[in-house]
Amino acid sequence: MEKITIIIDGKQVEAVKDQPVLMAARENGIDIPALCHHPELESSGGSCRVCLVEAVQGGRSRIVTSCNYPVRAGLEVNTSTDQVMKIRKGVLELLLCRVPDSEVVRGLASKYGIDEPRFFKDEGENNRYKCIACSLCTQVCEDVVGVSAISMQNRGVEKAPGTPFHKDSQACIGCGACAYACPTGAISMKDSKGVRTIWGRKFKMAACSVCGKPYIPQAQVDWIVKTTGKDRAFFDKCPDHR
């Protein structure tokens, strides 16, 4: 971990070489809006384009996405120049056209003065509900959970996550990591009466032996036991009562 000093919005700050500019900014209390980046997922980011900033390096200035632009010596970052604000606003307007129902995007857009986009909104067949196609869900499923139950499908406007052939995924363990990772709350997950419904499948929940609350899908317990060799008894109790 090589520490270097860079400049963000005129301030000298410490950062780690090759760390994303977004993280360096956040660690130094500088806020940059971002939707599709997850600090635990190396391949995440670069999709929503909300985190744009101006990067000046080697005398060259350009607009880059801070979530995957690496910190290197001599870098100067400006997070809210007129141009950055204008382009970011433009991106948010387009996002709002895609997911007019998303509270997150609506809130962010309104901060930039957009309450209604000037362009047509996606509806009917093109309505992907709140999904901004950032693929955080599929990355979590593949890289963190390790089951690859869902993947990004189609291209262009049609791009969206889904299970293979839109059939119930046999690989899915119902863990809900995708739903937690989703920045816009686009993935529907419902827990009711000891049953979790996600991606069109129902999962029976295992209950805590102390409080009796169903807290984890049985399939997830099986998966963890199978892949890590963890003692099954460990899952008798929910995290609150372990």
Binding site: R49, Q83, K159
Partner: protein, 618 residues
């Protein structure tokens, strides 16, 4: 074939192949490019074989016979060339073959009906190199295509093949890089990045593994220069890559070929096998301590797969989707190793640069763009096809001299260059030299070298709409500006062409262009503004005519035009009335006819069939 393990052996072998050649044998060369094959070249070749045999002649004894790669003049295929007289026959059919063999191969007569006729002068030209389409070309990249049988490594060796490699192996790798730098060669895949600089940066990164890759994805609709090179002269690409591998320190190369190019794959595979057998690939090439091999990978199909980061993902077996390139691929490319990706034509130039020297190469072209470039010249122009010219030739020369001018004597309006995300350059700028920097300054780009000629009957708003429509379909959907911005741009353009344009549209479009250019993830999105910005820049009045006056000046946009018949010019021949699919033209024989505008679907059939130019479009 025993592998060649020294330069002396290579030259010895070359001499033996040369000696075995019967020079000045009357020969027939048949174009076996994809275009000519589609037009029936296979049957023509078969007819030649039969006819030669029937006449009791023997190939390689009395006559020469060869099938070659694409000559670039595909619309006139199948092409047949006769050597040594250098006669070109066009649109040859199997039934023409006996006459050709009798009169032109055995005899020395020229068959008038098969030679090129200049549409402008009416003159016939039989000599290949005197035909305007070829006369003004300078063929460096296409040096061998049409002369060699792509399946014969001996043919390639006869054209000084693998001499560049032999020379390279006597040089220090860094000197090769310097030579390429000095040649001024810039990437032919679109970006125009200096090739030598790319190689140098790759060498500079510390790593024990490096890769070189060839981009043969060629996704631009209508472009086929890379296909022609891979099909027609596969060894030139392979030789270039071996030299590149040696120069940057790679042991493995990959050729990424578009899946729709089966013939390119076949010819490359055969060439790789031959090169391996002769010792140009594999361990200890030509007795040196350099080892290198090449694998072919078939493309993922999408246009965006040609983009460098998507291509590398695809080569790794993942989904071919672009990713951020803030860390360049010369540093972390294929499998995160330092990698060099170059276009087919870029690689194909390397052997001649090394063989003839950087100064020789740099003597062609302009200050900032050295050498030649292959273009695919299409659209409303008399001669279409693949042409190679020195960088810096003007658009007008390309269109008028090589292209033989605009079709049907219409007025030249613009050229669109650079593929779907290129731009349009108007007649008023047609003296512009065609090179990387001039095209970019003019609001277009070199791209892979597509040039579409447009005449006065082209609506520029419609053109912008067409290209944006293409890009909407090809957007991978990963990033917001491209995925969600392009369809909105397309909607605005559709509105304009359908009479729903609003005063603020041009400005809104420009704003959207700005978002795409600055914020899109990959080159597809960030260059997608060109079709709109360039047409707004040069043809703003046309946009305004659509928006303000509800008129399409070029008479293309159906919602904005009406068809009528000029009573004074109409002779009452009734032809249009007979042809109208709507049956909405009425009138007496020998009397002026009238179109019922309410039923007219503006198909334009009446205008096309009228011999008296009486149909008006407004």
């Amino acid at each position: 074939m025993k592998a060649i393990t020294s330069f002396e052996q290579l030259e010895g072998y070359r001499e033996r192949v040369k000696a075995a050649q019967k020079k000045d044998l009357p020969s027939v060369l048949i174009c076996f490019g994809t275009g000519c094959q589609a037009n029936g070249a296979v049957a023509v070749a078969e007819a030649f074989r039969e006819e030669i045999e029937r006449k009791g002649l023997k190939v390689d004894v009395n006559v020469g016979f060869k099938t070659t790669g694409c000559h670039g003049y595909c619309e006139n295929g199948p092409l047949v060339v006769l050597r040594p007289k250098d006669v070109l026959y066009l649109k040859v059919k199997p039934k023409d073959v006996p006459e050709i063999v009798e009169k032109s191969l055995v005899g020395s007569e020229i068959i008038e009906k098969l030679v090129y006729k200049d549409v402008n002068t009416g003159e016939s030209v039989a000599q290949y190199h005197e035909i305007p389409f070829y006369k003004y070309q300078k063929r460096i990249a296409l040096r061998n295509i049409g002369n060699v049988d792509p399946r014969s490594i001996d043919d390639y060796l006869l054209c000084d093949g693998y001499k560049g490699l032999a020379r390279a192996l006597t040089m220090r790798p860094e000197d090769i890089v310097s030579e390429v730098e000095k040649s001024g060669l810039r990437g032919r895949g679109g970006g125009g990045f200096p090739t030598g600089t790319k190689w140098r940066s790759c060498r500079a990164v510390d790593s024990d593994v490096r890769y070189v890759m060839c981009n043969g994805d060629e996704g631009d609709p209508g472009a086929f220069m890379d296909r022609s090179i891979m099909e027609g002269d596969p060894h030139s690409v392979i030789e270039g890559m071996i030299i590149g591998g040696y120069a940057v320190g790679a042991k493995q190369g990959y050729i990424y070929v578009r899946d729709e190019y089966p013939l390119a794959v076949k010819n490359l595979q055969a060439a790789l096998a031959d090169a391996r057998a002769m010792g140009f690939l594999g361990e200890n090439i030509l007795g040196s301590d350099f080892s290198f091999d090449i694998r072919i990978s078939r493309g993922g199909g999408a246009f965006v797969c040609g983009e460098s980061s998507a291509l590398m993902r695809s080569l790794e077996g993942k989904v071919g989707e672009p990713r951020a390139k803030y860390i360049r691929s010369v540093e972390k490319g294929l499998y995160d190793k330092p990698s060099v990706l170059n276009n087919v034509e870029t690689w194909n130039n390397i052997p001649v640069i090394i063989r003839n020297g950087a100064d020789w190469y740099a003597s062609f072209g302009t200050r900032g763009s050295k050498g030649t470039k292959v273009f695919s010249l299409v659209g409303k122009v008399n001669n279409t096809g693949l042409v190679e010219v020195p960088m810096g030739i003007s658009i007008r020369e390309l269109v008028e001299k090589i292209g033989g001018g605009v079709l049907n004597g219409k007025k030249f309006k613009a050229v669109q260059t650079g593929g779907p995300s290129g731009g349009c350059i108007p007649d008023s700028e047609a003296d512009l030299p065609v090179d990387f920097d001039s095209l970019t300054q003019a609001g277009s780009m070199m791209g892979s070298g597509g040039i579409i000629v447009m005449d006065e009957n082209t609506c520029m708003v419609d053109v912008a709409k067409y290209f944006i429509g293409f890009l909407v379909e090809e957007s991978c959907g990963k990033c917001t500006p491209c995925r969600d911005g392009l369809p909105r741009m397309h909607r605005i353009l559709s509105d304009i062409t359908e009479g729903r344009g609003r005063e603020e549209d041009i400005e809104t479009l420009t704003e959207l262009c700005d978002v795409l250019t600055c914020a899109a993830l990959c080159g597809l999105g960030s260059s997608a503004a060109n079709p709109v910005l360039s047409t707004v820049r040069y043809f703003r009045d046309e946009y305004e005519a659509h928006i303000r006056d509800g008129k399409c000046p070029a008479g293309v946009c159906k919602s904005l035009i009406t068809y009528s018949i000029d009573a004074a010019a109409c002779t009452g021949c009734t032809l249009c009335a007979k042809k109208c699919p709507q049956q909405c033209i009425t009138g007496e024989r020998k009397g002026a006819h009238v179109i019922d505008a309410s039923a007219c679907i503006k198909c334009g059939v009446c205008k096309d069939v009228c011999n008296f130019d009486a149909v008006r479009v407004e």
